[in-house]
Amino acid sequence: MAVPLHFQSLAELAECLAKREISSVELTRAVIARTEAVEPSVRAFNSRDAADALAQAEASDARRASGQSRGPLEGIPIGLKDVIAVKDQPLTASSRMLADFISPYDGTVTTRLRGAGAVLWGRLNCDEFAMGSSTENSAFHPTSNPWDLTRVPGGSSGGSSAALAAGEAIATLGSDTGGSIRQPAALCGVVGLKPTYGLVSRFGLVAYASSLDQIGPMTRTVEDAAILLGAIAGHDERDSTSLRTEIPDYRAELAGRRGPWRIGIPREYFGAGLDPEVAAAVERAVEHYRGLGCEVRPVSLPHTEHCLDTYYIIATAEASSNLARYDGIRYGHRSTKAKDIVDLYFQSRAEGFGAEVKRRIILGTYVLSSGYYDAFYLRAQKVRTLIRRDFLNAFRDVDVLLTPTSPIPAFKLGEKSDPLAMYLCDIYTIGVNLAGLPAISVPCGFTGAGLPVGFQLIGRPLAEADLLSAANAYDQVHAWGRKTPRL
């Protein structure tokens, strides 16, 4: 049975479009139809504009007809996490604070996707302001995992992973501050790439923690991730943290760079708390690489135990300041109960933010406040230096690190009510953000209960081409991301 359009890979569809076997309008219609069919149960979207998407598809077909195709993304419907600015579309960050906000501008990745001919499709649900690991912190509604609707899709980019797994988009963009692309990718059985900090512009990304946030692709295959990364990566003068670096043709490099790679297994990532079924699936992936002739050796990242604490100090400190702009003055939710200007801030923010956001703002405000800065924030910044050093030391002996992406598969909606328990979901992903490294989650099978499992490959700074090649060496054989859930 032929794979329906909405479940095909980006690379396959690009070829079909190039050969004029299908049109972008046909493809977009198929994706819209699929979305209408499954969205009531998945609820991956905060909003979508079918008419706008079809208009973009028509424009794309017209370009192709006149020989103006812009490349492999031409005419492909791509979903964006609702933290990325798209001009004249809602930008809510899944917060009541921004429930009515319409962006008057395009973010840089948005501009680049338009420039590449993509059809921008929908605003995808997430944890409020990207704070969370289950998408349950969305102010609007939770999103279900397409593999088990009673379970979470992961987070914070849970709408992006669920929409992709459910066939509601051909590829999506997420954002990753502590694992928010990789963990939901693992939990939904798709590929998720967090690029090197600074490779993809953050201009137009609603900031959670500025020194950690990165936008990245979520796709069905590693090859698709290479294509999409190529379209969004590269220096941007509107983001001071954007790196000036040559962007290779990542897709072409997949074939050009062959192993064997020296693979490091950080022993700290296989300890208590790791689900045995996840451990087994990851071990099978390691075996695959051994079979390819890769040298697999244990390594140590001694400061791993401090990653979570360091992360929660740095991320919440930055967030407390980044989210100060949401005050109901120039835009956003304004309380009608305020008795004066000062009260307006207190009430608007109390009404506009959800519990997790408030919790992180309070923690972040506290660690920056007078008398605590040195003990918390400054110390965390120093430990961050040590954490990055750990990784760079490890990369003296190995080319990539291989770890589980998430210690556990998708959990039940409502299962984790304790914030600390939720924070532990990110235990294998946050070190990468603190160190600013690229990392990819690749699907590597299912648990006995049919829940997807992913492993993570971590690369050297700006070594995305190597990372993608190494990931592809597994993915092109197993292609777990091509499996589709019954919905």
């Binding site: 962006s103 137009g204 100060a324 003055i329 405000t365 920056l368």
Partner: protein, 506 residues
Amino acid sequence: MKDVNSESSSVSSVSTASSSPSAARYEAVIGLEVHVQIKAASKVFAAVGTGYGHEPNTLTDPVVLALPGALPVMNKAALDAIIKAGLLLGCRISPVCKWDRKNYFYPDSPKNYQISQYDLPVCLGGEVEIELPGTARNVMGEHKRIPLTRIHLEEDVGKLSHGTIDSLVDYNRAGTPLMEIVSEPALHSAEEAYAYLTSLRASMIYGGISDCDMEKGQLRCDANISIRPVGEQRLGTKVELKNLNSISFVRDGIAHEIRRQIALVERGGVITQETRDYDGMTGTSQSLRSKEEAHDYRYFPDPDLMPVAVDEAWKDRIRATCPELPFDKQRRFLEQYQLPYTLTSVLVWDRALADYFEQAAGLCGKPQAAGNWIVNDLLRELGNAKTTLAECRVTPRHLAELVKLVDAGMLITASAREVFAEMFATGEEPGVIADRRGLRNAPSDGGELEQWCRDAITANPKALAEFKAGKDSAINAFKGPVMKAAKGKANPKAVDETLRRLLAVS
């Protein structure tokens, strides 16, 4: 330039007014925090235009409005400007500086944090040279060097206007590059504060760093003021004075605050640490609502911006663009051109005027004459015509030509004034005007002048005898008749010379 005169005269009036008997027992300690807007085409962290007087909210972009997802990017020109300010004022330029977020909520602050510099500002130390009023207008006053603590770069905030029931916010000003220049608490009187601001403002204008127009908010000043008994080393409780929105208000406000504190202490009162708002129109101040909580700005390094490393090459590039400052220029003018102090004290405060003078002086070789023409005639005409030097039609070359005509005896002073007035109006060459109006002297070597002089001497034997007896001024008795015969157009110098030559042989 009229400003300088009127301001310096009011300085002396205030200094006499503030010397009461009790005041002598106290010393005031004043530190100034001066905010200077840097002149730049775009904002300090947003690539959108700057300006004053535009329609509300027409100078914004996602960064200025702090829309979700917007990010700051540094404006190189703002860094160049603050480095220049630092070099002009003798600051140490930090080899590395960084950006910090100052977190506080206020409706004019779009992000609810201000990007500023906390522990690594661009400039450290430095000083502002000031001159206090002299004992007379033509006597140079005492010079002092007021040490600076630091200068850092930050962003300006938006503007609030207050209605009866609500307030309106305009973000045009938000993000304008702003320097904060912090002095040590090293000023001791309102006059010193006044002189400090005058000098600082001139330096910034000289450097092309800012226009420092206080009416447009390009220069704003807050003062921290305390008093202590003379001889006491510890600082007294300081009061912050805000809204000092003209240089005169700064002086008057500080003088008022010092008097208020002394009177309070003399009455047995205690000075409380507070912020007071000075109303320059009424000359009164009132306490602003005291802050309910101490500020906790939660400074931390801005993760959106990278640090700045300033190397020697960069500093050298900026140093090459640094002008001579007014007091240095004044010392040079006094020495190089032998100008009187009064002329220099007018010329050096306006860079364009000083340059004008130097060009004219160079062209005519008569610095004092050129200086006198500029300070007396040019400035008067500019004032009367309510115009500026930039728009003036009299070029330095015109002025130099005029000086040369007078010096060569081609024009008498009265005629030269007429020529100047017309030249100011039309921009014509002075020689052309003189010729057209028939003001140019007849050639001084013509036989006519000699004949007139002979006639005058012959007609007045009494004066001749007096002159021969050694009374030099007797020569003047012959000049009147010569001028009369020449219908006023004789060159006085030529007349004098001719008379002396003839008298010597008479």
